[in-house]
Amino acid sequence: MCLAIPGKIVELLPERENLALVEVSGVRRKIDVGLLDDDPAKVGDWVLIHVGFAMSKISESDAADQMRVLAMLGEDEAAMQEIEGYGLGGVELTG
Protein backbone atom coordinates (compact mmCIF):
# COMPACT_ATOMS: atom_id res chain seq x y z
CA MET A 1 0.00 0.00 0.00
CA CYS A 2 2.95 2.33 0.68
CA LEU A 3 4.75 1.12 -2.41
CA ALA A 4 3.37 2.41 -5.69
CA ILE A 5 2.85 0.31 -8.80
CA PRO A 6 4.15 1.76 -12.10
CA GLY A 7 1.98 1.62 -15.22
CA LYS A 8 1.57 3.14 -18.67
CA ILE A 9 -1.58 4.93 -19.78
CA VAL A 10 -2.70 3.22 -22.99
CA GLU A 11 -6.16 4.74 -23.46
CA LEU A 12 -8.34 7.49 -22.00
CA LEU A 13 -11.82 6.01 -21.69
CA PRO A 14 -14.90 7.97 -22.68
CA GLU A 15 -17.36 6.06 -20.44
CA ARG A 16 -16.76 8.41 -17.52
CA GLU A 17 -14.46 11.29 -16.64
CA ASN A 18 -10.97 10.53 -15.34
CA LEU A 19 -11.06 6.89 -16.34
CA ALA A 20 -8.04 5.47 -18.16
CA LEU A 21 -6.79 2.10 -19.26
CA VAL A 22 -3.37 1.39 -17.82
CA GLU A 23 -0.94 -1.39 -18.65
CA VAL A 24 1.22 -2.98 -15.98
CA SER A 25 3.48 -5.84 -17.07
CA GLY A 26 1.11 -6.81 -19.86
CA VAL A 27 -2.05 -6.60 -17.72
CA ARG A 28 -4.59 -3.91 -18.62
CA ARG A 29 -6.94 -2.45 -16.04
CA LYS A 30 -9.06 0.66 -15.61
CA ILE A 31 -7.78 3.21 -13.13
CA ASP A 32 -8.81 6.70 -12.04
CA VAL A 33 -6.58 9.56 -13.20
CA GLY A 34 -8.55 12.33 -11.45
CA LEU A 35 -5.74 13.06 -8.99
CA LEU A 36 -3.43 14.19 -11.81
CA ASP A 37 -5.73 17.14 -12.50
CA ASP A 38 -3.00 19.77 -12.51
CA ASP A 39 -1.21 17.84 -15.23
CA PRO A 40 -3.88 15.75 -17.00
CA ALA A 41 -3.04 12.21 -18.07
CA LYS A 42 -2.16 11.57 -21.70
CA VAL A 43 -1.79 8.33 -23.60
CA GLY A 44 1.82 7.19 -23.28
CA ASP A 45 2.36 8.75 -19.80
CA TRP A 46 3.95 6.59 -17.13
CA VAL A 47 2.31 6.89 -13.72
CA LEU A 48 2.66 5.59 -10.17
CA ILE A 49 -0.56 3.91 -9.00
CA HIS A 50 -1.85 3.59 -5.45
CA VAL A 51 -5.10 1.68 -4.78
CA GLY A 52 -6.48 2.22 -8.28
CA PHE A 53 -5.57 5.90 -8.64
CA ALA A 54 -2.66 7.42 -10.56
CA MET A 55 -0.86 9.63 -8.04
CA SER A 56 2.07 11.01 -10.03
CA LYS A 57 3.74 10.97 -13.41
CA ILE A 58 7.21 9.51 -13.73
CA SER A 59 9.69 8.76 -16.51
CA GLU A 60 9.77 5.42 -18.28
CA SER A 61 13.12 4.54 -16.71
CA ASP A 62 11.82 5.38 -13.22
CA ALA A 63 8.84 3.12 -13.95
CA ALA A 64 11.23 0.29 -14.82
CA ASP A 65 13.23 0.98 -11.63
CA GLN A 66 10.10 0.91 -9.51
CA MET A 67 9.01 -2.42 -11.00
CA ARG A 68 12.44 -3.83 -10.25
CA VAL A 69 12.25 -2.59 -6.65
CA LEU A 70 8.88 -4.32 -6.25
CA ALA A 71 10.38 -7.54 -7.63
CA MET A 72 13.43 -7.27 -5.36
CA LEU A 73 11.17 -6.74 -2.36
CA GLY A 74 9.14 -9.81 -3.33
CA GLU A 75 6.10 -7.53 -3.71
CA ASP A 76 5.66 -7.96 -7.48
CA GLU A 77 3.12 -10.78 -7.18
CA ALA A 78 1.06 -8.83 -4.67
CA ALA A 79 1.26 -5.79 -6.97
CA MET A 80 -0.01 -7.77 -9.95
CA GLN A 81 -2.74 -9.28 -7.80
CA GLU A 82 -3.79 -5.74 -6.86
CA ILE A 83 -3.78 -4.61 -10.49
CA GLU A 84 -5.75 -7.64 -11.60
CA GLY A 85 -8.23 -6.99 -8.82
CA TYR A 86 -9.06 -3.45 -9.97
CA GLY A 87 -12.46 -2.85 -11.51
CA LEU A 88 -13.84 -6.22 -10.48
CA GLY A 89 -15.46 -4.97 -7.33
CA GLY A 90 -15.10 -7.42 -4.46
CA VAL A 91 -12.99 -10.45 -5.17
CA GLU A 92 -14.07 -13.64 -3.43
CA LEU A 93 -11.49 -14.97 -1.05
CA THR A 94 -10.37 -18.53 -1.40
CA GLY A 95 -9.66 -20.62 1.66
Binding site: L48, V51, G52, E92
Partner: protein, 374 residues
Protein backbone atom coordinates in the same frame (compact mmCIF):
# COMPACT_ATOMS: atom_id res chain seq x y z
CA UNK B 1 26.67 -8.31 2.12
CA UNK B 2 24.22 -10.81 0.95
CA UNK B 3 22.18 -8.94 -1.64
CA UNK B 4 24.98 -6.87 -3.01
CA UNK B 5 25.20 -9.01 -6.15
CA UNK B 6 21.63 -8.01 -7.02
CA UNK B 7 22.41 -4.32 -6.89
CA UNK B 8 22.33 -2.73 -10.28
CA UNK B 9 25.23 -0.37 -9.74
CA UNK B 10 27.65 -2.09 -7.36
CA UNK B 11 30.37 0.50 -7.93
CA UNK B 12 27.98 3.30 -6.90
CA UNK B 13 26.90 1.28 -3.88
CA UNK B 14 30.57 0.87 -2.91
CA UNK B 15 31.17 4.58 -3.38
CA UNK B 16 28.20 5.47 -1.18
CA UNK B 17 29.23 3.06 1.59
CA UNK B 18 32.78 4.46 1.50
CA UNK B 19 31.38 7.98 1.74
CA UNK B 20 29.23 6.90 4.69
CA UNK B 21 32.33 5.56 6.45
CA UNK B 22 34.22 8.75 5.69
CA UNK B 23 31.45 10.95 7.12
CA UNK B 24 30.91 8.88 10.26
CA UNK B 25 32.62 9.94 13.45
CA UNK B 26 33.67 6.64 15.10
CA UNK B 27 33.24 8.19 18.55
CA UNK B 28 29.60 9.00 17.89
CA UNK B 29 26.48 6.83 17.79
CA UNK B 30 23.97 7.76 15.10
CA UNK B 31 20.26 6.99 15.40
CA UNK B 32 18.40 7.49 12.13
CA UNK B 33 14.69 6.75 11.87
CA UNK B 34 13.10 5.59 8.64
CA UNK B 35 9.50 6.68 8.94
CA UNK B 36 7.99 4.59 6.15
CA UNK B 37 7.18 0.89 6.39
CA UNK B 38 8.24 0.42 2.76
CA UNK B 39 11.71 1.61 3.74
CA UNK B 40 11.75 -0.78 6.72
CA UNK B 41 10.94 -3.66 4.39
CA UNK B 42 13.66 -2.54 1.94
CA UNK B 43 16.29 -2.21 4.71
CA UNK B 44 15.83 -5.83 5.76
CA UNK B 45 15.34 -7.21 2.28
CA UNK B 46 18.47 -5.59 0.91
CA UNK B 47 20.53 -6.25 4.01
CA UNK B 48 21.42 -2.55 4.22
CA UNK B 49 22.49 -2.80 7.85
CA UNK B 50 25.38 -5.02 6.75
CA UNK B 51 26.64 -2.15 4.58
CA UNK B 52 26.64 0.43 7.38
CA UNK B 53 29.21 1.02 10.12
CA UNK B 54 28.06 -0.47 13.44
CA UNK B 55 27.59 2.95 15.05
CA UNK B 56 24.78 3.84 12.61
CA UNK B 57 21.54 2.49 14.04
CA UNK B 58 18.39 2.45 11.94
CA UNK B 59 15.23 2.88 14.02
CA UNK B 60 11.97 1.74 12.46
CA UNK B 61 9.22 4.31 12.48
CA UNK B 62 5.42 4.25 12.61
CA UNK B 63 4.76 4.31 8.85
CA UNK B 64 2.75 1.12 8.53
CA UNK B 65 -0.96 2.00 8.41
CA UNK B 66 -2.16 -1.44 9.43
CA UNK B 67 0.26 -1.56 12.36
CA UNK B 68 -0.68 1.76 13.95
CA UNK B 69 -4.40 1.04 14.08
CA UNK B 70 -5.49 0.16 17.61
CA UNK B 71 -7.43 -3.08 17.99
CA UNK B 72 -10.51 -1.18 19.17
CA UNK B 73 -10.90 0.43 15.76
CA UNK B 74 -10.78 -2.98 14.09
CA UNK B 75 -13.46 -4.20 16.50
CA UNK B 76 -15.51 -1.07 15.80
CA UNK B 77 -15.31 -1.66 12.05
CA UNK B 78 -16.16 -5.33 12.37
CA UNK B 79 -19.16 -4.51 14.59
CA UNK B 80 -20.88 -3.25 11.44
CA UNK B 81 -20.93 -6.78 10.02
CA UNK B 82 -23.74 -7.48 12.52
CA UNK B 83 -26.07 -5.40 10.35
CA UNK B 84 -27.68 -7.92 8.01
CA UNK B 85 -27.51 -5.78 4.88
CA UNK B 86 -23.91 -4.61 5.26
CA UNK B 87 -21.09 -5.69 2.97
CA UNK B 88 -17.78 -5.03 4.79
CA UNK B 89 -14.98 -4.10 2.38
CA UNK B 90 -11.30 -3.48 3.07
CA UNK B 91 -7.89 -3.77 1.45
CA UNK B 92 -6.22 -7.18 1.55
CA UNK B 93 -3.68 -5.91 4.13
CA UNK B 94 -6.49 -5.59 6.68
CA UNK B 95 -7.88 -9.09 6.29
CA UNK B 96 -5.57 -10.94 8.67
CA UNK B 97 -5.27 -8.21 11.30
CA UNK B 98 -6.58 -9.62 14.57
CA UNK B 99 -9.51 -8.00 16.33
CA UNK B 100 -10.68 -9.14 19.77
CA UNK B 101 -12.96 -11.76 18.24
CA UNK B 102 -10.89 -12.57 15.19
CA UNK B 103 -9.68 -10.99 11.97
CA UNK B 104 -11.96 -9.87 9.12
CA UNK B 105 -11.05 -13.17 7.42
CA UNK B 106 -12.24 -15.12 10.46
CA UNK B 107 -15.47 -13.11 10.54
CA UNK B 108 -15.94 -14.08 6.91
CA UNK B 109 -15.41 -17.75 7.75
CA UNK B 110 -18.17 -17.38 10.34
CA UNK B 111 -20.57 -16.08 7.70
CA UNK B 112 -20.13 -12.30 7.65
CA UNK B 113 -20.13 -10.68 4.21
CA UNK B 114 -16.51 -9.53 4.17
CA UNK B 115 -14.83 -8.77 0.86
CA UNK B 116 -11.41 -7.62 -0.31
CA UNK B 117 -11.28 -4.59 -2.54
CA UNK B 118 -8.12 -3.25 -4.15
CA UNK B 119 -9.40 0.30 -4.49
CA UNK B 120 -12.03 2.47 -2.78
CA UNK B 121 -13.43 2.93 -6.30
CA UNK B 122 -14.19 -0.79 -6.37
CA UNK B 123 -16.11 -0.53 -3.09
CA UNK B 124 -18.22 2.24 -4.62
CA UNK B 125 -18.83 0.13 -7.71
CA UNK B 126 -19.91 -2.75 -5.48
CA UNK B 127 -22.46 -0.40 -3.89
CA UNK B 128 -23.77 0.56 -7.33
CA UNK B 129 -24.07 -3.10 -8.27
CA UNK B 130 -25.87 -4.00 -5.02
CA UNK B 131 -28.50 -1.29 -4.50
CA UNK B 132 -30.35 -3.35 -1.87
CA UNK B 133 -27.22 -3.72 0.30
CA UNK B 134 -25.06 -1.20 2.16
CA UNK B 135 -21.35 -1.22 1.30
CA UNK B 136 -19.04 -0.03 4.07
CA UNK B 137 -15.41 0.64 3.16
CA UNK B 138 -12.88 0.33 6.00
CA UNK B 139 -10.46 3.07 4.92
CA UNK B 140 -6.87 2.96 6.13
CA UNK B 141 -3.61 4.58 5.12
CA UNK B 142 -1.55 7.72 5.28
CA UNK B 143 -1.64 10.47 2.66
CA UNK B 144 -0.83 7.94 -0.08
CA UNK B 145 -4.34 6.47 0.04
CA UNK B 146 -6.45 9.23 1.64
CA UNK B 147 -6.83 11.24 -1.63
CA UNK B 148 -8.27 8.16 -3.36
CA UNK B 149 -10.88 7.76 -0.63
CA UNK B 150 -11.65 11.49 -0.94
CA UNK B 151 -12.13 11.37 -4.70
CA UNK B 152 -14.31 8.25 -4.34
CA UNK B 153 -16.55 10.07 -1.85
CA UNK B 154 -16.79 13.12 -4.13
CA UNK B 155 -17.87 10.78 -6.89
CA UNK B 156 -20.39 8.98 -4.66
CA UNK B 157 -21.98 12.30 -3.78
CA UNK B 158 -22.05 13.50 -7.39
CA UNK B 159 -23.77 10.24 -8.37
CA UNK B 160 -26.27 10.52 -5.50
CA UNK B 161 -25.38 7.07 -4.15
CA UNK B 162 -27.09 6.29 -0.85
CA UNK B 163 -25.86 2.81 0.09
CA UNK B 164 -22.17 3.56 0.56
CA UNK B 165 -20.18 4.65 3.57
CA UNK B 166 -16.59 4.97 4.73
CA UNK B 167 -15.26 4.02 8.16
CA UNK B 168 -12.42 6.50 8.11
CA UNK B 169 -9.11 5.54 9.70
CA UNK B 170 -6.83 7.69 7.58
CA UNK B 171 -3.90 9.05 9.55
CA UNK B 172 -1.37 11.77 8.87
CA UNK B 173 2.36 11.30 9.12
CA UNK B 174 3.61 14.62 10.51
CA UNK B 175 1.86 14.46 13.93
CA UNK B 176 3.18 10.92 14.39
CA UNK B 177 6.74 12.13 13.85
CA UNK B 178 6.10 14.96 16.29
CA UNK B 179 4.76 12.51 18.89
CA UNK B 180 7.86 10.35 18.54
CA UNK B 181 10.10 13.37 19.03
CA UNK B 182 8.10 14.36 22.12
CA UNK B 183 8.50 10.90 23.60
CA UNK B 184 10.97 11.12 26.51
CA UNK B 185 12.48 7.66 25.92
CA UNK B 186 13.37 8.44 22.31
CA UNK B 187 16.57 10.03 21.12
CA UNK B 188 17.01 10.46 17.37
CA UNK B 189 19.52 12.30 15.23
CA UNK B 190 17.76 12.49 11.88
CA UNK B 191 14.97 11.13 9.68
CA UNK B 192 14.80 9.26 6.40
CA UNK B 193 11.57 10.77 5.06
CA UNK B 194 8.84 8.67 3.41
CA UNK B 195 8.92 8.44 -0.40
CA UNK B 196 5.41 7.96 -1.69
CA UNK B 197 3.59 9.86 1.08
CA UNK B 198 5.71 12.81 0.01
CA UNK B 199 4.48 12.63 -3.61
CA UNK B 200 1.21 13.86 -2.07
CA UNK B 201 2.25 16.18 0.78
CA UNK B 202 5.52 17.35 -0.79
CA UNK B 203 8.55 18.34 1.29
CA UNK B 204 7.35 21.58 2.85
CA UNK B 205 5.44 19.98 5.79
CA UNK B 206 8.72 18.53 7.06
CA UNK B 207 10.27 21.97 7.47
CA UNK B 208 9.05 22.26 11.04
CA UNK B 209 11.07 19.13 11.95
CA UNK B 210 14.17 20.96 10.82
CA UNK B 211 13.15 24.33 12.21
CA UNK B 212 11.51 23.46 15.52
CA UNK B 213 12.99 20.10 16.41
CA UNK B 214 16.46 20.62 14.95
CA UNK B 215 16.43 17.30 13.12
CA UNK B 216 17.62 16.89 9.51
CA UNK B 217 15.31 14.98 7.19
CA UNK B 218 15.93 13.59 3.72
CA UNK B 219 12.99 12.33 1.64
CA UNK B 220 14.21 9.09 0.09
CA UNK B 221 13.49 6.63 -2.71
CA UNK B 222 13.26 2.89 -2.13
CA UNK B 223 16.22 1.48 -4.05
CA UNK B 224 19.30 0.44 -2.05
CA UNK B 225 21.31 3.23 -3.68
CA UNK B 226 18.55 5.78 -2.90
CA UNK B 227 18.61 4.86 0.76
CA UNK B 228 22.41 4.90 1.00
CA UNK B 229 22.49 8.29 -0.74
CA UNK B 230 19.91 9.59 1.72
CA UNK B 231 22.07 8.40 4.61
CA UNK B 232 25.07 10.18 3.03
CA UNK B 233 23.01 13.39 2.79
CA UNK B 234 21.93 13.10 6.44
CA UNK B 235 25.48 12.42 7.64
CA UNK B 236 26.75 15.44 5.68
CA UNK B 237 24.18 17.65 7.38
CA UNK B 238 25.11 16.27 10.80
CA UNK B 239 28.82 16.74 10.09
CA UNK B 240 28.37 20.31 8.80
CA UNK B 241 25.96 21.19 11.61
CA UNK B 242 23.21 21.96 9.08
CA UNK B 243 19.55 21.15 9.75
CA UNK B 244 17.55 21.05 6.53
CA UNK B 245 14.87 19.26 4.57
CA UNK B 246 16.41 17.70 1.49
CA UNK B 247 14.84 15.69 -1.31
CA UNK B 248 16.83 12.70 -2.54
CA UNK B 249 13.78 11.37 -4.46
CA UNK B 250 13.39 14.40 -6.74
CA UNK B 251 12.65 12.26 -9.76
CA UNK B 252 9.31 11.30 -8.18
CA UNK B 253 8.61 13.76 -5.33
CA UNK B 254 7.82 17.38 -6.21
CA UNK B 255 8.66 19.89 -3.46
CA UNK B 256 5.07 21.18 -3.44
CA UNK B 257 3.42 17.73 -3.53
CA UNK B 258 0.30 16.87 -5.53
CA UNK B 259 -2.07 19.85 -5.42
CA UNK B 260 -5.05 17.99 -6.90
CA UNK B 261 -4.73 15.29 -4.24
CA UNK B 262 -4.38 17.83 -1.41
CA UNK B 263 -7.43 19.69 -2.73
CA UNK B 264 -9.55 16.52 -2.77
CA UNK B 265 -8.49 15.73 0.80
CA UNK B 266 -9.33 19.25 1.97
CA UNK B 267 -12.76 19.04 0.31
CA UNK B 268 -13.76 15.78 2.02
CA UNK B 269 -11.78 15.49 5.26
CA UNK B 270 -11.09 17.51 8.34
CA UNK B 271 -8.64 16.79 11.15
CA UNK B 272 -9.92 14.90 14.16
CA UNK B 273 -9.07 16.66 17.44
CA UNK B 274 -7.24 13.47 18.46
CA UNK B 275 -6.93 9.83 17.45
CA UNK B 276 -5.56 6.78 19.20
CA UNK B 277 -2.49 5.09 17.71
CA UNK B 278 -1.46 1.60 18.70
CA UNK B 279 1.18 1.80 21.39
CA UNK B 280 1.50 5.57 21.12
CA UNK B 281 -1.72 6.63 22.77
CA UNK B 282 -3.82 9.59 21.67
CA UNK B 283 -2.10 12.00 19.29
CA UNK B 284 -3.76 15.32 18.65
CA UNK B 285 -4.75 16.26 15.10
CA UNK B 286 -3.22 13.07 13.74
CA UNK B 287 -6.12 11.58 11.78
CA UNK B 288 -8.88 12.49 9.37
CA UNK B 289 -12.66 12.29 9.60
CA UNK B 290 -15.29 13.11 7.02
CA UNK B 291 -16.51 16.71 6.96
CA UNK B 292 -20.12 17.30 7.98
CA UNK B 293 -20.95 17.97 4.35
CA UNK B 294 -20.16 14.27 3.77
CA UNK B 295 -21.96 13.03 6.91
CA UNK B 296 -24.32 10.80 4.90
CA UNK B 297 -21.27 8.75 3.83
CA UNK B 298 -19.69 8.63 7.28
CA UNK B 299 -20.07 5.14 8.77
CA UNK B 300 -19.44 6.62 12.23
CA UNK B 301 -22.53 8.79 11.84
CA UNK B 302 -24.73 6.24 10.05
CA UNK B 303 -24.11 3.35 12.39
CA UNK B 304 -23.94 2.96 16.12
CA UNK B 305 -20.21 2.42 16.63
CA UNK B 306 -19.39 0.96 20.03
CA UNK B 307 -16.17 3.02 20.38
CA UNK B 308 -14.28 0.09 21.78
CA UNK B 309 -10.95 0.59 23.51
CA UNK B 310 -8.83 -2.51 23.81
CA UNK B 311 -5.41 -2.70 25.39
CA UNK B 312 -2.91 -4.72 23.38
CA UNK B 313 -2.32 -8.33 24.41
CA UNK B 314 -0.44 -8.02 27.69
CA UNK B 315 2.78 -9.75 26.71
CA UNK B 316 2.97 -8.14 23.26
CA UNK B 317 5.16 -5.05 23.08
CA UNK B 318 3.89 -3.66 19.77
CA UNK B 319 3.89 -0.09 21.07
CA UNK B 320 7.53 -0.10 22.09
CA UNK B 321 8.53 -1.65 18.76
CA UNK B 322 6.37 0.82 16.86
CA UNK B 323 8.06 3.76 18.56
CA UNK B 324 11.49 2.24 17.93
CA UNK B 325 12.24 1.81 21.63
CA UNK B 326 12.52 -1.98 21.27
CA UNK B 327 13.83 -4.03 18.35
CA UNK B 328 11.34 -6.63 17.07
CA UNK B 329 13.30 -9.59 18.47
CA UNK B 330 13.33 -7.98 21.94
CA UNK B 331 9.56 -8.49 22.27
CA UNK B 332 8.76 -11.47 24.49
CA UNK B 333 6.38 -12.99 21.93
CA UNK B 334 8.56 -12.51 18.85
CA UNK B 335 9.02 -15.70 16.83
CA UNK B 336 7.31 -17.82 19.48
CA UNK B 337 3.63 -16.96 20.05
CA UNK B 338 3.75 -14.26 17.37
CA UNK B 339 4.79 -15.21 13.82
CA UNK B 340 3.68 -14.06 10.35
CA UNK B 341 1.66 -17.28 10.04
CA UNK B 342 -0.04 -16.69 13.39
CA UNK B 343 0.24 -12.99 14.26
CA UNK B 344 -0.65 -11.66 17.71
CA UNK B 345 0.14 -8.03 16.84
CA UNK B 346 -0.38 -6.10 13.62
CA UNK B 347 3.34 -5.49 13.12
CA UNK B 348 3.64 -9.19 12.27
CA UNK B 349 0.83 -9.06 9.67
CA UNK B 350 1.85 -6.50 7.09
CA UNK B 351 5.02 -6.87 5.02
CA UNK B 352 5.62 -3.22 5.94
CA UNK B 353 5.50 -4.05 9.64
CA UNK B 354 8.95 -4.15 11.21
CA UNK B 355 8.27 -7.47 13.02
CA UNK B 356 7.28 -9.26 9.80
CA UNK B 357 10.23 -7.75 7.93
CA UNK B 358 12.64 -8.73 10.70
CA UNK B 359 11.14 -12.21 10.97
CA UNK B 360 11.14 -12.89 7.22
CA UNK B 361 14.75 -11.90 6.68
CA UNK B 362 16.85 -11.77 9.84
CA UNK B 363 15.11 -14.43 11.91
CA UNK B 364 14.82 -17.00 9.11
CA UNK B 365 18.44 -16.35 8.12
CA UNK B 366 19.58 -16.95 11.70
CA UNK B 367 17.53 -20.15 11.88
CA UNK B 368 19.08 -21.43 8.63
CA UNK B 369 22.60 -20.60 9.82
CA UNK B 370 21.88 -22.46 13.03
CA UNK B 371 20.58 -25.51 11.12
CA UNK B 372 23.51 -25.64 8.71
CA UNK B 373 25.93 -25.44 11.63
CA UNK B 374 24.47 -28.57 13.17
Amino acid sequence: MRFVDEFREPELINKATQEIRRLTDPARHYRLMEVCGGHTHAIYRFGLKDLLPPNIELIHGPGCPVCVLPMGRIDDGLSMTEQPDVIFTAFGDMMRVPGTHGSPLEYKARGADVRIVYSPADALKLAQNNPDRHVMFFAIGFETTAPSTALTLMRARALGIRNFSVFCNHVTIIPAIRAILDSPDMRLDAFIGPGHVSTVIGCRPYEWIARHEGKPIVVSGFEPLDMLESIVMLLRQLKDGRVEVENQYKRVVPWEGNRAALKAMAEVFQLRPYFEWRGMGFISQSALRLRDSYAEFDAEQRFRIPGIRVTDPKAAQCGEVLKGVLKPAQCKLFGRECTPENPVGALMVSSEGSCAAYYNYEHRKAALTHLSAQ
